[in-house]
């Protein structure tokens, strides 16, 4: 009897606790998993995508902003006018915008930010974005006139990059460790090696964020990422590091699995000035020897779209060149013979940590071995990769995903780690810059894609898919990632 009573009491109280907890407001904090820890938090001073993944749109804003469909939206500039000759852009800034430290954001800050990025000794990782700018002038407290020295079709898009965000002169130097921006979230704390915390900016000029707190937890190990999701330690992964786990999450009703696309062209980067890769026939032979679908199935468990050039398949200017080099070992051997390597050769492939590179590298090594090209696999950490491969171009081959949007222009750079250095391609990109009409631009982009494919500059593998996994009650996260960002401004919990 006594026992029954006790159970009754217990059940009733449990019910009360249950009801009261569900009546409570929905959660307002989000913990998001990220694979890489950013080197610092200043998007105007580093190429690492990990920086933008935390601060873009959340902490820092630019004149314009790129939305989840890749379109340009007004941000700090509420409107703009473009002169008839398309060389003068007049930006009207939002009034009453304050930086997180309480100072006003006005025309002076815009002039300062753009001039700082353009300056001779600038440490901006994407100086090319600012190259067309001739001058930046303040014409009123909230009006800025930017004059270009050449017609630049994608200028408003460029101003939406994380590298072009507006910073304050007073705080710019300290942004690496204590970022001060104008966004809906303020930087709160960074426990190195563990997590980064943002809190809501209650004085935000626009629509306030729904979350009060956002924590980015750094989890480099895919297995640990699986456990963290399963245990609920992390609410969301915008891009889960282990594609093989997608099936497992799909079958679990607690999670929403959203496969989207990214701007990540995953390529077998090739050092174009290093023998034997300076020979176009060798590069073409490699292109014939690669079996893209096997790489996608083996390394990405089927997630990914094959590409035949350095261009995103979801972009309207995309040309399908995947048939240019149909998997053909006889053709590959033939080309190697013509290039003077009938028995193949030996080379080194340096692989950064992501599974697309480590697994992809093993598969590619086995595929190239069939035509006599023997690859020695050298796994490297990101820091080493940036130093040896990206900066010093001390490499033969590597695999990496280029996640910047519309980045075919990197092939025209004088100094870029592919060492492509083709005057023909550079001229083409110059022409693109000076072309404004959409159809004309797309025609040039198509020509550029074909040129890269014909010369087999790199091994073009696949477009990286975005493996989004999050708690099914979290809404507002981006399905695709047109920019390297985790825009949390519209994220909320339904429960």
């Amino acid at each position: 009897m006594m026992m029954k009573k006790l159970i009754k009491v217990f059940l009733v109280s449990a019910g009360i606790i249950f009801l009261s907890s569900s009546a409570m407001a929905a959660k307002t904090s989000l913990t998001m998993g990220v694979v890489l820890e950013p080197p610092h938090l200043d998007p105007t001073a580093g190429a690492a995508a990990a920086i933008d993944e935390i601060v873009y749109a959340n902490v820092f804003e630019g004149l314009t902003q790129i939305d989840q469909n890749g379109a340009v939206q007004p941000a700090l500039a509420e409107s703009w006018t473009i002169s008839d000759d398309k060389l003068t852009y007049t930006f009207n800034l939002h009034k009453g915008v304050k930086f997180h430290d309480g100072t006003d954001m006005d025309a002076d800050d815009v002039v300062f930010s753009l001039n700082r990025a353009m300056a001779e000794g600038s440490v901006n990782a994407q100086k090319g974005l600012f190259k067309p700018i001739a001058s930046v002038n303040k014409t009123g407290p909230h009006t800025v006139v930017v004059t270009l020295n050449q017609v630049t079709g994608g200028f408003l898009f460029s101003m939406g990059w994380g590298d072009a965000v507006i910073v304050a002169e007073e705080s710019a130097e300290k942004n690496k460790s204590n970022p001060v921006g104008t966004g809906p979230f303020k930087f709160s704390k960074w426990a190195k090696g563990s997590h980064i915390e943002l809190v809501r900016n209650d004085n935000y000029w626009g629509d306030a964020a729904k979350l009060t707190k956002a924590t980015f937890k750094i989890i480099p190990d895919p297995a640990a990422a699986v456990s963290a999701m399963m245990a609920g330690d992390v609410d969301a992964f915008a891009n889960f590091p282990a594609p093989e786990s997608m099936e497992q999450f799909k079958s679990d009703p607690r999670f929403a699995v959203v496969i989207g696309n990214t701007e990540g062209e995953t390529i077998l980067s090739t050092n174009n000035t290093k023998a034997p890769f300076d020979n176009v026939k060798v590069r073409q032979a490699m292109a014939y020897a690669l079996d893209r679908q096997a790489i996608i199935d083996g390394a990405m468990f089927g997630y990914g779209t094959p590409i035949g050039s350095h261009f995103a398949p979801h972009h309207p200017a995309y040309v399908d060149l995947t048939g240019r080099y149909e998997h053909n070992l006889a053709m590959a051997r033939q080309l190697l013979r013509e290039a003077g390597f009938p028995n193949g050769f030996k080379a080194v492939i340096k692989l950064p940590p992501p599974s697309y590179a480590r697994r992809g590298g093993e598969i590619i090594a086995s595929q190239l071995k069939k035509v006599g090209i023997e690859l020695e696999i050298v796994p490297v950490e990101w820091a080493q990769w940036l130093k040896q491969v990206f900066k010093a171009t001390d490499y033969d081959l590597t695999i990496v995903s280029h996640t910047e949007p519309m980045d075919i222009g990197i092939y025209a750079r004088d100094k870029y780690y592919f060492n492509y250095k083709s005057p023909k391609f550079q001229a083409l990109m110059k022409k693109l810059d000076q072309t404004v009409g959409t159809d004309e631009r797309y025609a040039i982009l198509a020509e550029a894609q074909k040129m890269l494919s014909d010369e087999a500059v790199n091994g073009f593998l696949f477009q990286l898919a975005k493996h989004g996994v999050w708690n099914k009650d979290v809404k507002g996260l981006w399905e695709n990632s047109p920019v390297q960002a985790n825009n949390l401004t519209k994220v909320y919990w339904t429960n």
């Binding site: 895919p222 199935d297 083996g298 590298g361 093993e362 696999i377």
Partner: protein, 282 residues
């Protein structure tokens, strides 16, 4: 000497641990040796089309996420474990035993110096120091051999010194001394043969530890590099696939556990048989 072997062998036949351990160990060595001549499939054969195949006549234990034959990988992985552990023991014993003998023969400050340096090395947990060494030298099979070898040195030095000290007190050493033999000759002709059995037992145990350490280092990505297979690396690769294909983790895990168990039983049995003190009491 042949008499002694016969004796050991006969005693061994009555020792259960020794038989079980010896069987597992010799199977392990045979499989490792076999991999030089024949494996069912080439381990470099990546064939995505047959990934996660079920065990069949063609693939005895099925295939992994790259469509490679798991059995072939285990076999080549066994060879890899043997080489790493064997060479590492060679380094450990090759440097450790002479150091221990010198310390025991010289005594005094030489002894102090050698043993304190040993203590210093020994104070670091073995795997941590191996990780440190591979972090400095860079990942790779050769560096993991060096790393495992280095932490084996103090183990052998200690055991050699400890056992040698006891022998130095014995009458026959006194006799050898009076016959005019020097320290080096006595160490090599009288001390070493008398502590050999203890060293052999220690070597089998260190061998098992070496296999574990190699698996650990490879698991952390510091040991054997792809495409060469290693049990530790197979475990690592299986980690995120464990819900999809648990067999990928089970097979190498079992291989490691069985081999280490076998070596330990073998070492245990060997100690019981070889240890002179135990023998006398029997």
């Amino acid at each position: 000497m042949p008499n002694r072997f016969q004796e050991v062998f006969q005693e061994g036949l009555q020792h259960r641990n020794f038989i079980i351990g010896g069987t597992i160990t010799s199977a392990f060595f045979l499989i490792a040796l076999m991999s030089y001549v024949w494996t069912p499939h080439s381990i470099e054969d990546i064939n995505i089309a047959v990934k996660f195949a079920k065990p069949s006549g063609d693939f005895w234990l099925g295939t992994d996420h790259f469509g490679r034959d798991i059995f072939s990988m285990l076999v080549v992985g066994a060879r890899n474990s043997v080489i790493v552990a064997f060479v590492a023991i060679g380094i450990g014993a090759g440097l450790g035993v002479p150091l221990g003998l010198v310390a025991a023969a010289q005594r005094g400050w030489t002894d102090e110096l050698i043993m304190r340096v040993n203590d210093f090395t020994f104070a670091f947990p073995a795997l941590i120091s191996a990780i440190m060494i591979t972090a400095i030298l860079g990942p790779g099979a050769v560096n993991s051999i060096i790393a495992i070898g280095i932490f084996n040195i103090p183990v052998f030095a200690r055991i050699a010194r400890g056992s040698a000290l006891g022998i130095w007190e014995r009458e026959f050493i006194l006799a050898a001394k009076s016959a005019g033999k020097g320290q080096v000759r006595i160490s090599l002709e009288h001390i070493l043969p008398n502590i050999l059995s203890i060293l052999i037992v220690q070597a089998t145990i260190q061998f098992a530890l070496g296999i574990l350490a190699e698996a650990g280092l490879s698991y952390l990505g510091l040991g054997t590099q792809p495409p060469a297979p290693s049990w530790g690396k197979m475990l690592k690769e299986a980690q995120t696939l464990i819900h999809m294909a648990p067999q990928l983790a089970i097979y190498p895990g079992l291989a490691i556990a069985m081999t280490v168990l076998g070596l330990n039983l073998f070492g245990d049995g060997l100690r019981d048989i070889l240890d002179p003190k135990l023998r006398r009491s029997r």
